[in-house]
């Protein structure tokens, strides 16, 4: 792909097989510098919209519709060929932007895969079959004889998912189970001796898995090329655009606490009561109560406290004061201190871990004995009510919050809680626990300031 400054040269790419490109290789097109950035921004709106939908716990059908609406609004041209070009160009530009760290790659991979899945779903079945063959999938259509022998199991699987009957012309494919991880994970296929029996309508999953794995590898290669040649070569032209594109959209990661850097352990109980979001409050209370937390909880709370401004030595003192009551000071030093220092980038490969965003917290899966994750998602209604009451949320608002949580709008529930506790609105919506903390402190400090006057 060549980027030029001057007038547009119309593309020679006149072969349009399917409207859904697979992004196998960068198209041989010339792009204007302005379009380089504009196309990417438009695509980023679509991807960000999907990301928001996911963290707000929207249902898959809602997100699919949202994605297609956003696509139409941002990525359409009157001429079909222009569509394909913008699609390709914007994708490859964003590859440059999002190849540069593990976390960026993960995000981009998830969003592009989700987008691909929704778009594939909305294609005609001929177009879908054509795309499948482009992937060279090692599947075989199940013969009639074999179908009869496993039919009752296939029906059972369908019924377990809420479908009543198999359609009359049901075609099934036999695929090695490794090809359809998503379906296996959700127990949405019958598997036998290593083979999964996949319904035609589930084929999307196969295709999407391939798409994802290819893109994942491509991003690594792109990163290598970026760091070894492109970044330097383009430092006066594309590199500043690429670097700006990323930070303008992901929002702050709260790994470098700024204004409120002076939190000490004696303040902690007080600020936990006033400014911690429910997820962190719960973890904090549990630490004080049980003098212990399992790994997931230690990570979620520990990184949050780092973002809040707790220095590594204070953090060690805090955790030790609690854990020593349960396991003894010596065991703490032996088994837990290392990991706390690790979180602050003081050990091992010295990565400075960033506090978890709401998206990450919501997507985690607490198990037995765990207290992390998003309470709006995991708490029973009774427990949630009690927790909100302890935070001082009035009973009418509690109902509102419960309603939001029930409908899986976890971040909206948290935002409502914030607004109730602080008596002021939060228009941006909560999408990061440290954001909750900072906004809370802002309000409290301005109240104190005005009172002091």
């Amino acid at each position: 792909m060549q980027v030029v400054r001057c007038h547009r040269i119309s593309s020679s790419n006149d072969v349009v097989v399917s409207t859904l490109p697979l992004y196998r290789s960068a198209p041989p097109l010339e792009v204007r510098l302005e379009d380089f950035e504009l196309f990417a921004v438009d695509r980023l709106r679509v991807l960000k919209g999907i990301s928001d939908g996911l963290s707000r716990g929207k249902k898959p059908e809602e997100i699919a519709k949202l994605a297609m609406d956003l696509w139409k609004a941002n990525m359409r041209y009157p001429q079909a060929t222009e569509d394909v070009n913008k699609d390709n160009i914007s994708h490859f530009v964003l590859r440059l932007v999002y190849c540069r760290t593990e976390e960026l790659r993960k995000w981009f991979l998830s969003m592009e895969t989700a987008l691909f899945r929704y778009r594939f779903h909305s294609e005609s079945s001929e177009a879908q079959r054509a795309l499948m063959s482009e992937f060279n999938l090692p599947y075989k259509a199940v013969s009639n004889a074999e179908f009869e022998s496993v039919k009752d199991k296939l029906v059972q699987v369908a019924r377990s998912m809420g479908q009543t009957l198999l359609p009359a012309d049901a075609i099934f494919y036999k695929v090695p189970f490794e090809e359809v991880s998503e379906l296996v994970a959700g127990r949405r296929v019958f598997i036998h001796k290593g083979h999964a029996y996949v319904a035609m309508n589930q084929v999307v999953s196969i295709v999407v898995t391939q798409f994802r794995s290819h893109l994942s590898k491509a991003l690594i290669l792109t990163n290598r090329k970026w760091t070894s040649t492109i970044r330097e070569q383009e430092k006066d032209r594309l590199t500043p655009i690429v670097e700006a594109l990323c930070t303008s959209y992901l929002g702050p990661d709260y790994s470098q606490p700024k204004e409120f850097a002076e939190i000490s352990i004696k303040d902690i109980d007080q600020i936990a009561k006033t400014s911690f979001p429910l997820c962190m409050r719960h973890l904090f209370e549990k630490v004080r109560e049980d003098h212990h937390l399992k790994h997931g909880g230690r990570m979620q709370l520990g990184l949050f406290l780092k973002g809040v401004g707790l220095k590594v030595d204070d953090a060690l003192a805090f955790w030790k004061a609690e854990f020593a009551q349960k396991v003894g000071a010596e065991r703490f030093d032996k088994e837990y201190a290392y990991n706390i220092r690790h979180n602050y980038g003081r050990e091992g490969k010295r990565t400075d871990y960033t506090p978890y965003s709401c998206q990450k917290v919501i997507l985690s899966t607490p198990g037995v004995g765990d207290h992390h994750g998003c309470p709006y998602r995991h708490f029973s209604e009774e427990n949630l009510r009690a927790a909100l009451a302890r935070m001082g949320v009035g009973s009418r608002i509690v109902e509102d919050v419960i309603d939001k949580a029930r409908n899986r709008h976890y971040q909206l529930a948290c935002t409502l809680t914030f607004e109730a506790v602080h008596g002021s609105s939060c228009d941006a919506g909560i999408n990061h626990p440290n954001q909750y903390f900072i906004e809370s402190q802002k309000i409290l400090q301005s109240k104190n300031g005005s009172m002091a006057q």
Binding site: Q156, V157, R159, K193, G194, G367, H378
Partner: protein, 451 residues
């Protein structure tokens, strides 16, 4: 001593009887371990296993394979050394005998020798990365603490150990029938759980995502003490895997053993936990009945069994039309009995897992294999301990040949089983795989060369 001397009874000297001379006090320490590693630990078998046939003479054998496998040792005083690797059986054996590790963990096979990983870190490409690793599972009975009343924490007894037995049955059947794996090793973890090693080539080459998918396939239990219901089985019927597990293993065990062993319905505190899992209307009715009827002496049958029948009847009698009620019974059974896996262990290739035949420091018991076809008979309280084995060695007296000393101790059974049921079939299959892929490559090369 000659026979004469024995018969004459040298009673002018204080002699300890033969039993006391051999007695080895219970314990776990470096001295015991040294003897264990010197005479009993099956070094060569572990090496052969980890080589997966690559230690043979066939031209297709990958000589670098075993050297790329990570081992880690935990030494006395909790010193922990990672990224150990060995290129021969004697290297492995000598290192273990010399370092005398309190615990040996096995990690993945990396792309390069782990000892040389720093040389490859410079390029920033992450060229040092796991390429093969067995599919592993870890089941720990402490994860069942909310449903067992006989023990808590690290304790295990014969009343609650069967939870592990049924976990083995459920998972083993699925691994073989559903996933098509054949080379599966189940190992006692030494104290309170079991590990599973799936060693088929296909399993070793699974990506992290595929491992996570398999772990999710097995996952039913969700949530924790903060949520109400931890098992939710939606849908009109169960997936064939869950249905099979229920009818073949879980239901029978729950109704015949667990209900009574754990007295799940005998007291208010206990039955309230179960009543919490069913709709209020039905729960209220049952509660009323059970609160009135204190222990009636008329009852011949176990009160738990009787109440369970009443509960099932109330839910399934069809008085209430809602489909969801039928699932309640299964959900209760699942929440008490269905296997609870540690997901993180299975999901990541670089997770380190304790090697079989290690000795558990807290119990002194050896991590012996468990036969999944006979797991009902496995008794964790009868697993040989370190001191017991040393005692058995003493009893045998001095021997000239140092080979196969394990065979005259209780460990013999385990090593034999390890070899015959697991290692030999595995190595046979590895050999076939190596040869056949070699032949395929040869054929391909021939085809491309032919004009």
């Amino acid at each position: 001593m000659t026979k004469d001397e024995v018969e004459n009874g040298r009673d002018d000297m204080l002699i300890d009887g033969p039993e006391q001379a051999n007695a080895v006090p219970d314990g776990f320490n470096a001295n015991y371990l040294r003897i264990y590693y010197g005479k009993l630990f099956p070094h060569a078998d572990i090496f052969k296993w980890m080589s997966y046939g690559n230690d043979g003479k066939h031209p297709a054998c990958d000589k670098s394979y075993i050297g790329r496998r990570e081992f880690s040792f935990t030494l006395e005083n909790d010193i922990y050394i990672r990224f150990q690797s060995f290129n021969s059986a004697s290297e492995l054996e000598n290192s273990i005998k010399e370092k005398c590790p309190f615990k040996i963990d096995i990690g993945p096979v990396y792309s390069v020798d782990p000892a040389k990983r720093h040389a490859y870190a410079q390029s920033g490409d992450n060229v040092f990365t796991p390429v093969e690793r067995e599919l592993v599972f870890d089941i720990d009975i402490t994860d069942y603490d909310d449903v067992r009343y006989c023990c808590t924490g690290a304790d295990v007894c014969l009343e609650c150990w069967p939870l592990m037995t049924i976990a083995i049955k459920v998972i083993d059947t699925a691994l073989r029938d559903d996933f098509g794996f054949n080379h599966i090793l189940w190992v006692y973890s030494g104290r309170r759980g079991v590990h599973c090693w799936v060693c088929d080539g296909k399993a070793r080459r699974l990506t992290n995502e595929q491992r996570a998918a398999i772990a999710d396939y097995f996952r039913v239990y969700q949530g924790n003490e903060n949520s109400n219901k931890k098992i939710s089985l939606p849908g009109h019927v169960l997936h064939p895997f869950l249905a099979r597990s229920y009818t073949e293993v879980l239901k029978g065990f729950f109704e015949a053993k667990l209900l009574s062993n754990q007295n799940l319905l005998s007291s208010e505190e206990r039955y309230e936990k179960i009543l919490e899992m069913i709709p209020d209307a039905v729960a209220a009715e049952l509660r009323g009945r059970w609160q009135e009827k204190k222990r009636s002496s008329m009852l011949k049958n176990d009160i738990n069994v009787v109440r369970w029948e009443q509960l099932k009847h109330a839910l399934q009698s069809g008085k209430q039309k809602a489909q969801g009620l039928r699932r309640c019974v299964e959900e209760i059974v699942f929440s008490f009995t269905y296997p609870r896996l540690d997901m993180e262990v299975s999901k990541h290739m670089n997770h380190l897992l304790k090697a079989p035949f290690c000795v558990h420091p807290k119990t002194g018991r050896v991590c012996v294999p468990i036969d999944p076809n006979n797991c009902d008979e496995f008794d964790p309280t009868k697993v040989p301990t370190l001191s017991q084995l040393l005692e058995e060695l003493n009893r045998g007296g001095l021997r000239q040949d140092a080979e196969d000393e394990w065979d005259r101790t209780s460990l013999g059974e385990s090593v034999t089983f390890f070899r015959s049921s697991f290692l030999h079939p595995l190595l046979k299959s590895c050999k076939e795989e190596i040869e056949s892929s070699y032949n395929t490559k040869l054929q391909q090369a021939k085809n491309t060369l032919s004009w």
